[in-house]
């Protein structure tokens, strides 16, 4: 069965131009040497690749290359940002602020900090998924050390006003961490302009390789972090481990391409997303999850009343999409993000996330919408009629 891939918020295909950059660092004739071995020419060439990639990533987020610290991905970046900054600054304050709709890499790190004696305030977003800057302001306390907010939500695609929250934090000398795994290279973000102290980045959501990411750190004044791993002292002693030159070259290439094509990609993908929503809009009982205006181009999350999400997903083997249903996501509960927005368990259970990328086509979108309509109609036709007075 040929499968239409609409799960680009989970991961993306590597761009052939990125693969080319990576291959240059793998073969015996390429720049495969250890980038720390700068005593010989191959090592210096590998180091040059690493530093070129660092500059390419930094440029996309308005940072200088020295601010970029390599990691294995956004999960590690989030952990290092939260655990590292909180443990370093615990004498200054033991309170953190975040939202209920953050990625588990942030929420689970917060839970760990709670076990270590920190207090965490989890803000509830409004029904559209937006956390208002005023909510953050109200939650701040004299002992607040750090605020963590994602730029774009991975399930519903809504965009938070990180610049406003950054300004609030900067005024008060509170560290501001942003998880930009779903936004960097897709939406403008600038660590200077938006007053972001710690920014988590990844490559694989942007047609780069899996297993590599970065944490962008404020330089002046320098942020203190307690490292999570120890060893060879790479990355200024904050993240030991041999640098994976091919992965870093790939991430650099992915960010360079994104910088060049962001505007065109975003416009084309937003057009496809709107086409998809228009085509699905004809399905009775369908509703959009998340704010209709403040959203990233590639993510569309819908709930379809009267259809059980797991059955819908299992009826669509020709589509690679995500669902908020408990069984589909291999968790015990339906999507915690949708429930935080006030969606009922049943509506969370009947949700689908369709996410588009650089290689999505109009034909993909049209076929997917037709197939979803067809299966929704079929599953409804075999369901008992809803009881009178049932609440969606």
């Amino acid at each position: 069965v040929s499968v239409i891939y609409l799960d680009n918020a989970a991961t993306t295909a590597v761009d052939p131009r990125v693969m080319e950059a990576m291959l240059d660092c793998l073969s015996a004739t390429g720049d495969y040497a250890n980038a720390s071995a700068t005593n010989h020419a191959p090592g210096r060439r590998a180091r040059a690749r690493v530093e070129q990639a660092r500059a390419e990533v930094a440029a996309v987020v308005g940072a200088s290359p020295e601010q970029v610290l390599w990691t294995s991905g956004a999960t590690e970046s989030n952990n290092l940002a939260l655990l590292g900054a909180a443990r370093f600054g615990r004498a200054r304050g033991r309170h953190l602020v975040t939202s209920r709709t953050e990625h588990p890499a942030v929420l689970d790190a917060c839970r760990q900090l709670e076990r270590e004696g920190f207090e965490v305030t989890y803000l509830k977003p409004g029904a559209t998924g937006i956390v208002e800057p005023g909510q953050v302001e109200q939650a701040l306390r004299p002992d607040t050390l750090l605020v963590s907010l994602m730029h774009v939500n991975n399930e519903i695609g809504v965009v938070q006003d990180v610049a406003a929250v950054g300004a609030l934090c900067r005024e008060r000398g509170i560290l501001f961490h942003v998880d930009a795994a779903q936004s960097a290279g897709k939406l403008p973000i600038d660590v200077q302009r938006d007053a972001i102290d710690l920014l988590s980045l990844t490559a694989h959501k942007l047609h780069g390789p899996k297993g590599v990411g970065a944490l962008c750190l404020r330089r002046e004044p320098r942020i203190g972090l307690v490292p999570l791993q120890f060893g060879g002292g790479q990355e200024r002693g904050l993240r030991s481990g041999t640098l994976p030159t091919h992965q870093l070259a790939g991430m650099g290439a992915a960010y360079r391409i994104a910088a060049q094509e962001m505007t065109a990609d975003a416009a084309r993908i937003a057009g496809l997303r709107d086409l998809l929503w228009q085509a699905l809009g004809a399905v009775p009982g369908i509703s959009l999850n998340g704010d209709s205006g403040r959203r990233v181009a590639g993510i569309l999350n819908v709930s379809i009343d009267g259809v059980e999400g797991e059955s819908l997903l299992a009826s669509l083997p020709d589509l690679a999409v995500a669902s908020g249903s408990a069984c589909a996501s291999m968790t015990a509960e339906p999507s915690y993000v949708l429930r935080a927005l006030g969606r009922s368990d049943r509506m969370a259970q009947s949700s689908l996330r369709l996410s588009l990328g650089r290689f999505s086509t109009r034909a993909d979108v049209e076929t997917a919408a037709a197939r979803i309509r067809e299966e929704v109609e079929r599953l409804r036709s075999i369901a008992p009629a809803p009881r009178a007075g049932a609440v969606p």
């Binding site: 059980e308 369901a383 008992p384």
Partner: protein, 131 residues
């Protein structure tokens, strides 16, 4: 490798082809059993025609997960030829075994058993043993 390990081939076939789905015309001897609640994630209606104390035809309507829909479909295949006492003896474990339903979904099959019990309560002419 690409087969979904959460579902047996039979569950997927019954989910996608839904043999036995639909309604039966209301006529003398028709009987229905209902159970579940959409809010709880599983709801089913089993409709049968009973001729001379035995089920002659059965159909289902179901809302729920793939295992639940498949089990309702499987049940309607099993019902023709059965009588009142067979309904009382029906056990959800038979469906679980036939469809390789994982333990986490056993609760859904209990909903199906409730529908079979309801069917027996609504048996035409009251409780009539075929033994």
């Amino acid at each position: 490798v690409s087969a979904d390990p959460r579902y047996s081939a039979e569950v997927l076939r019954r989910l996608r082809e839904t043999p036995g789905a639909g309604l039966l015309a209301a006529e003398p001897g028709s009987v229905q059993g209902c159970a579940g609640d959409r809010e709880q994630g599983a709801e089913v209606q089993i409709a049968c025609t009973v001729v001379q104390g035995r089920i002659a035809a059965a159909r289902f309507l179901a809302f729920g997960c793939p295992h639940f829909i498949a089990a309702a479909s499987w049940l309607t295949d099993q019902l023709p030829g059965t009588g009142y006492d067979d309904l009382l003896a029906w056990d959800w474990r038979a469906a679980a075994q036939a469809l390789e339903v994982p333990a986490a979904k056993f609760g859904r099959l209990l909903t199906l058993q409730d529908a079979v019990r309801d069917l027996s309560r609504n048996w035409p002419g009251g409780q009539q043993s075929t033994v």
